[in-house]
């Protein structure tokens, strides 16, 4: 973890393309328990099967989203970089990560506790709505990517 004041974290969150323009109260709630973290190449941001309790806001670097095949061979299915977010399994039961995320190179990310977001959504549902409006296109993009990958894997493109 890198030492950063709540104000610094709030400022960086507000400038991030995912959070830019979201309601200030939601930004404040997200920043309240957030941490600025630094990862070296090879460090895990999250591991499949573990409790999903944070949103990762990538500031720079590159993160590989990996799954492992039956022979335990690791396969990267997408990389995520600056301006993107990852980790949304905290939104849906069973609240466990469904893949691994590993830094491919030196990476900085802000981790936002899911509990802070849930509390804010409960207090002001319209903030939850605004948040989902940002998140759904990210999820839709991932689904579309997997659709294309599936077609290619089956040689039907």
């Amino acid at each position: 973890m890198i030492e950063a004041t709540p104000h610094e974290i709030a400022t960086r969150l507000a400038a991030h393309s995912f959070f830019k323009g979201l309601p200030q109260a939601l930004l404040d709630a997200a920043a309240s328990g957030a941490k600025l973290r630094s990862y070296r190449a090879g460090d895990f941001l999250l591991r499949e099967g573990r409790a999903a309790d944070e949103l990762f806001v990538v500031l720079d670097g590159k993160v590989a989203l990996e799954v492992f095949a039956a022979d335990r061979r690791r396969i990267t299915i997408q990389t995520v970089g600056a301006g993107e977010v990852l980790g949304w399994s905290w939104l849906a039961a069973p609240h466990r990560w469904t893949l691994d995320a590993i830094a491919v190179k030196a990476t900085h990310a802000i981790t936002v506790p899911a509990s802070a977001l849930w509390e804010r959504f409960a207090a002001e549902p319209s903030d939850g709505y605004e948040f989902l409006l940002r998140l759904v296109p990210v999820l839709a993009g991932r689904i579309q990517s997997m659709e294309m990958q599936l077609l290619e894997a089956n040689d039907v493109v």
């Binding site: 989203l65 690791r74 990267t76 299915i77 990389t79 970089g81 301006g83 190179k105 290619e152 493109v157």
Partner: protein, 293 residues
């Protein structure tokens, strides 16, 4: 008679009067062969005494004939050589393409062409340019990239996004490094899936579109790849604000005659061999998601 019917009649008359040159391939010898991937090879073909082919435009294709086996439409994938050499990149898929893929230096093949429409580079003068290639979609865009770079000052930003299934499926691997090293071109490479030995981007081509830099209203996009990839890529480009008439796609269909007579490659009201393979999305968009065509 409608203007379209008149045009068709004229075309048939022309085709009939020049039937010999239309269907007779010229002999070319395989001068060199580069194995790109396990099933893709790039061939440099040199004239071997036949009548010379007409000059080609980037995006056009030739019919390559493996003697005694069959003919296949193959895009031209490199600039015209000083001695009239042609460059073609072939993927081994069926009997004909497998024979062409396996053709070693010294093998004589037949060539007729060039056919079809090319990439409209003139429409991009003074504008930003985006090239999006998926898999074997890079070879048809390569001559265009050469042309753009040879007259670099005429264009704005040039962004290229190239995706392949895995790192082992990337073509022109050495050239990719030199393109990526240029400072007058931004060339992104991504693969659909990779192991730990790949340090580049992973994700389908569309995942790189948000990271491309261009002025949408002043950009021309050229897209080539599997049809599914093109459908999704076009949607991503439209979402970024590029107008439909500034997006060009190269369609692939089973082409036989290559001159719009046999109908094998009909796509809606068009024949891909004659009216394409390069189409403006505005023209072809209505048929893009129609399963029946």
């Amino acid at each position: 008679m409608s203007s379209r019917a008149a045009a068709a009649t004229t075309h048939v008359a022309h085709a009939t009067s020049t039937a010999t040159s239309l269907y007779a391939p010229s002999p070319y010898v395989v001068k060199s062969r580069t194995q790109e991937t396990s099933d893709i090879a790039t061939l440099v073909l040199a004239p071997a005494g036949g009548p010379p082919l007409r000059p080609f435009a980037p995006g056009q294709f030739n019919m390559l004939y493996a003697w005694g086996i069959g003919e296949a439409a193959i895009s031209i994938s490199g600039p015209l050589g000083a001695g009239g050499e042609l460059v073609h990149t072939v993927q081994s898929l069926g009997a004909t393409s497998r024979a062409l893929f396996s053709a070693m230096p010294g093998t004589v093949v037949g060539v007729r062409g060039p056919y079809g429409s090319g990439w409209p580079a003139e429409a991009a003068v003074g504008k930003d340019i985006l090239l999006a290639a998926g898999g074997l979609g890079l070879p048809p865009l390569r001559p265009l990239l050469y042309q753009l770079l040879s007259e670099r000052d005429r264009y704005g930003r040039i962004e290229v996004v190239y995706g392949a299934r895995t790192p082992k499926h990337l073509v022109f691997y050495d050239e990719l490094q030199s393109w990526r090293a240029r400072n007058d071109l931004r060339f992104q490479v991504t693969v659909d899936a990779a192991g730990r030995d790949w340090y580049g981007d992973v994700g389908v081509v569309t995942t790189r579109i948000p990271d491309t830099r261009f002025e949408p209203a002043n950009t021309v996009a050229f897209v080539c790849g599997p049809e599914v990839m093109m459908r999704f890529t076009v949607q991503a480009l439209l979402q970024r604000g590029i107008p439909p008439d500034a997006i060009y796609v190269s369609m692939e269909r089973n082409m036989k005659c290559a001159v719009g007579l046999c109908g094998h490659c009909q796509f809606g009201p068009d024949f891909v061999c004659r009216d394409g393979p390069v189409f403006s999305y505005r023209r072809i968009g209505p048929y893009f998601t129609v399963r029946e065509v």
